[in-house]
């Protein structure tokens, strides 16, 4: 197989995704874990670019890195008191967690390797940018109703989060 720079970049992104996810799971310092999660999210956005999902990649960067990650860092800073909060791990919990997650990994891996119609699938031809098509599908085709439900869900989450996190005021 000849040398292919695209493939090299793909494996770089894959390695970055998995490596930083391992750091998220194993590191003791929660602030470092949050920043490592940022690397994971960015490289998943890179994998979306390889899948020719350009709009999805931009949304991933804006919503996850710009929104959710900042929210997580706020949560860390408001609840830990001090930034070098160490995470305790128990040995038994580590063992059983490893057993369960490795079992799930093995099951899914066997499903992937034993499904013949997923082997060596050729990617279709290169597409044009997806933004226009996504807009049309969301705004006037079959995804209009889920779109509206998603907006209601966001409104509910907004009100609910504000209601839960404010101080309780008793007026009797």
């Amino acid at each position: 197989m000849e040398f292919n720079p695209q493939q090299l970049v793909f494996y770089l992104f894959a390695l970055l995704t998995i490596g930083s996810a391992v750091i998220v799971v194993t590191i003791k310092n929660i602030v470092y874990a949050a920043f490592s999660l940022m690397v994971t999210l960015f490289s998943v956005a890179g994998l979306y670019v390889f899948l020719q999902a350009d709009f999805l990649a931009a949304t991933q960067v804006i919503v996850y890195v710009g929104g959710i990650l900042v929210l997580i860092l706020f949560g860390v800073m408001m609840t830990s008191g001090r930034l070098d909060l160490k995470l305790k791990l128990e040995r038994g919990q580590l063992f059983w967690g490893g057993v369960v997650s490795l079992t799930i990994f093995g099951l899914l891996l066997s499903v992937i390797t034993n499904t013949p119609q997923w082997e060596n699938v050729d990617a279709g031809a290169s597409q044009e940018p997806t933004t226009r098509k996504i807009g049309e599908m969301i705004m006037k085709e079959e995804f209009l109703l889920p779109f509206e439900i998603a907006s209601i869900l966001l409104l509910v989450a907004l009100i609910g989060a504000a209601l839960i996190s404010r101080k309780e005021v008793r007026n009797e």
Binding site: L47, G97, G98
Partner: protein
């Protein structure tokens, strides 16, 4: 760069997320594990949309977009609950907030 390489990345992310949720003793780390799981899901949707469905059908990407929306809503409510718990108990370890335990 075939379908299976994306699927393998996705299941590695998924099992790392499960491991994080099961072993961490801090609610925010558990949220990070859930985000890893949701990301592996969305990656799967995008990969199947690229490789399995016809090239001009991108509904998989739209489902992944809705997944991102759900993750945002979930993170907002999750952190609001964590803040409320922290005010009440001064800790966010799931093992110590066991008032409802019989």
């Amino acid at each position: 760069m075939n379908l299976q390489s994306y699927l393998v990345i996705s299941i590695i992310l998924f099992s790392l997320g499960i491991f994080c949720v099961l072993t961490r003793r801090n609610a925010i780390s558990i949220l990070m594990g859930i985000e890893l799981i949701l990301n592996s899901c969305n990656l799967n949707f995008a990969a199947f949309s690229r490789f399995v469905t016809p090239p001009d059908d991108i509904s998989g990407q739209i489902i992944a977009l809705f997944g991102i929306v759900l993750a945002a809503a979930e993170a907002a409510v999750f952190l609001a609950i964590i803040l409320a718990i922290y005010r009440e108990f001064s800790t966010i370890s799931p093992d110590e907030t066991d008032t409802l335990k019989g």
